[in-house]
């Protein structure tokens, strides 16, 4: 794909898909943009019209808006750090030749197949529940007080649950990267006198940067929109301690039935996603070049 004519042919052939995808994206975006400047409440359909920026200013003036923005980024960042670090460690572990490697790998990947609300319910009721949860039982068994996870540490709990769901994805991608590392390179490093830690730092980690980049980019896209786990567990609470931007939009759209404000929130979310994407691509995008 390097000569002039092949490049032109390639562009020509992807053009229809690009066109369809563009329409697919631009129509909802344009409609959201349109509604974000409209007064449009389902509960008072008789009042309609342009309202300028009031939908936006409502968001910026809302007492928990900046907290929600912070929580959104905290959720993304926290889950990324946990999944990449733990995913690397687990990948290193299950790459070792151990007995029952096949079933072990399936077990590691299993959480990814659990739907978010189900995963959140399991965590809330079977693990974190102050009376019936496993953690509470362990805490009592050790003679301590059960921790009120969702009340005392709502964001950390949500981050924990989401990390549990995304860890398999990270592990899987990182494991394949690990397996594509030639064993001769590691042996050469061993002969060169590199300790296990140095082999990881100078050989394995650089080899994995591209996979880590892919994990970070893909997860960021999905994590920015995390909603189900919060809806199932904390409902953005206590108070608005675990409120995030998607959850705020949900409250405006479904609870308050204010489509205009929800649309404005959506546009803010799009802008936030683009800012994040910009910094991500500037920071780590070069890792994707061959």
């Amino acid at each position: 794909m390097s000569t002039q004519s092949t490049r032109f042919a390639a562009r020509l052939m992807v053009a229809p898909s690009v066109f369809v995808l563009f329409i697919w994206m631009i129509v909802p975006l344009a409609m959201t943009l349109y509604f974000s400047f409209r007064f449009y409440r389902l509960l008072s359909p008789e009042r309609a019209g342009w309202t300028g920026l009031t939908n936006y200013t409502w968001f910026f003036k809302a007492p928990d808006f900046w907290l929600a923005m912070g929580n959104t980024l905290l959720l993304v960042g926290g889950v990324l750090v946990i999944t990449v670090v733990l995913g690397t460690l687990i990948a290193l572990l299950i790459d070792q030749p151990v007995y029952g490697q096949g079933p072990l790998r399936i077990l590691v990947i299993a959480p990814f197949f659990v739907m978010p609300p189900v995963a959140a319910s399991i965590w809330e009721n079977l693990f974190m529940h102050p009376q019936n949860g496993l953690f509470a039982a362990v805490a009592r068994g050790l003679g301590g007080q059960p921790i009120l996870f969702l009340e005392s540490y709502p964001m950390a709990s949500v981050i924990g649950i989401v990390s549990w769901e995304w860890l398999p994805f990270a592990t899987l991608i990182l494991l394949t990267a690990l397996q594509s590392l030639s064993s001769e390179q590691l042996e050469a490093a061993e002969m060169d006198g590199a300790s296990g830690l140095n082999r990881f730092r100078y050989i394995i980690l650089p080899h994995m940067t591209r996979a880590i980049t892919v994990v970070v980019l893909i997860q960021t896209i999905f994590l920015l929109g995390i909603f189900g786990e919060i809806f199932t567990t904390t409902q953005g609470g206590p108070g608005s301690a675990s409120n995030t931007l998607p959850y705020m939009i949900f409250k405006q759209a479904i609870v308050a039935k204010d489509i205009g404000r929800a649309a404005a929130g959506g546009i803010i979310a799009v802008i936030l996603a683009n800012i994040v994407a910009y910094f991500l691509m500037r920071g780590i995008g070069k890792n994707l070049d061959a």
Partner: protein, 331 residues
């Protein structure tokens, strides 16, 4: 210093005895070549010496120090892999400096040694490139550079030239030989290329199915092969082995005559028809179907003009016949 002594070294992978037991002494400064057919355990033996595989039984000593259980990095050896195993994300400079960095040398010392090695290997202009931006021969040199900066007590090469084209192989072969002459460090070199083995080695170790068939200088192996395996393996084209009554006449189970020691005579000898004649200019290789001696290969001079179907008479040159007993050993 680099004297390596293997005593009854055995290696098995699970059930399979890949190396049933090897005794071998490699003297300091020697250039030793391991040859043998594919799968005979050359790489395994080299990796045992390197410490990349654990021996199942037996002991190994380097310069009198027992290293049987030592980690690869503690043995003071350097290895050049068939795939070069360069670190793709590091520049050539960093690749070569890596063992020095791991040894904790100062940046200035590292730079000095890398510069010196690059000069020897003609890599000075490529130091800032990545391995992916180098040709096969240059990569090979980087791998050698990474090995020599550590000043190891011995170098281990596992078929280092097999990824290169024929012309480059010749050049690199000479470069490695020159390197050995200037460094005078022990080198162990695995190959299945006859020419490499014959031209480079001080001592050739012929392996077959995990055991040593013969150890000796290239000419010893050529002139006095210890058994039919070595006789067939060393020399190209292969030695003709003739069994049956013709061998019995000479009191042997089999007699061997190298193609280059087979003469074309006008009378007497073994009569046969030419099956195939390959004219290489300098030489002519003939494949002759004889009446009594089976199919023989002959290396005749370039001036010989015989072609398919012609009748020839062949006789071994005097004193150039090898005799083997029924156990395959030379008599």
């Amino acid at each position: 210093m680099g004297k390596i002594v293997l005593k009854s070294v055995r290696k098995s992978f699970g059930e399979v005895d890949v190396i049933p037991g090897i005794d071998l002494t490699i003297e300091d400064g020697e250039f030793v070549v391991f040859v043998g057919p594919s799968g005979c355990g050359k790489s395994t033996l080299l990796r045992l010496i390197a410490g990349l595989e654990d021996v199942t039984a037996g002991t190994m000593a380097i310069d009198g120090r027992d290293v049987t259980a030592a980690a690869p990095s503690e043995r003071g050896l350097a290895m050049v892999f068939q795939s070069y195993a360069l670190y793709p994300h590091m520049t050539v400079r960093k690749n070569i400096a890596f063992p020095l960095k791991m040894a904790g040398l100062s940046q200035a010392d590292q730079d000095a040694k890398v510069t010196a090695a690059a000069k020897v290997l003609n890599l000075t202009n490529y130091l800032e490139r990545r391995p992916g931006q180098l040709s096969g021969g240059q990569r090979q040199r980087v791998a050698i550079g990474r090995a020599i900066v550590r000043e190891p007590s011995a170098f281990l090469f596992d078929e280092p030239l097999s990824n290169l084209d024929a012309a480059l192989r010749v050049t690199m072969r000479q470069e490695i030989t020159e390197l050995h002459q200037s460094l005078k460090t022990t080198m162990i070199y695995v190959t299945h290329d006859q020419v490499e083995a014959m031209t480079m080695a001080d001592k050739i170790v012929v392996l077959n199915a995990g055991h040593i068939e013969q150890v000796g200088s290239p000419l010893e192996l050529y002139n006095t092969p210890a058994n039919t395996f070595v006789a067939g393996f060393i020399g190209s084209p292969k030695m003709n082995l003739i069994e049956g009554p013709l061998a019995a006449e000479q009191g042997a189970h089999a007699i061997g005559v190298r193609p280059e020691h087979m003469g074309i005579v006008s009378e007497g000898g073994w009569e046969g028809k030419v099956l195939l004649s390959e004219h290489l200019g300098s030489d002519t290789f003939l494949k002759v179907q004889t009446v009594n001696a089976g199919t023989l290969t002959v290396r005749a001079g370039g001036e010989v003009r015989l072609s398919h179907g012609d009748t020839v008479r062949l006789a071994p040159l005097p004193g150039k016949t090898h005799r083997f007993g029924s156990n395959g050993l030379a008599l």
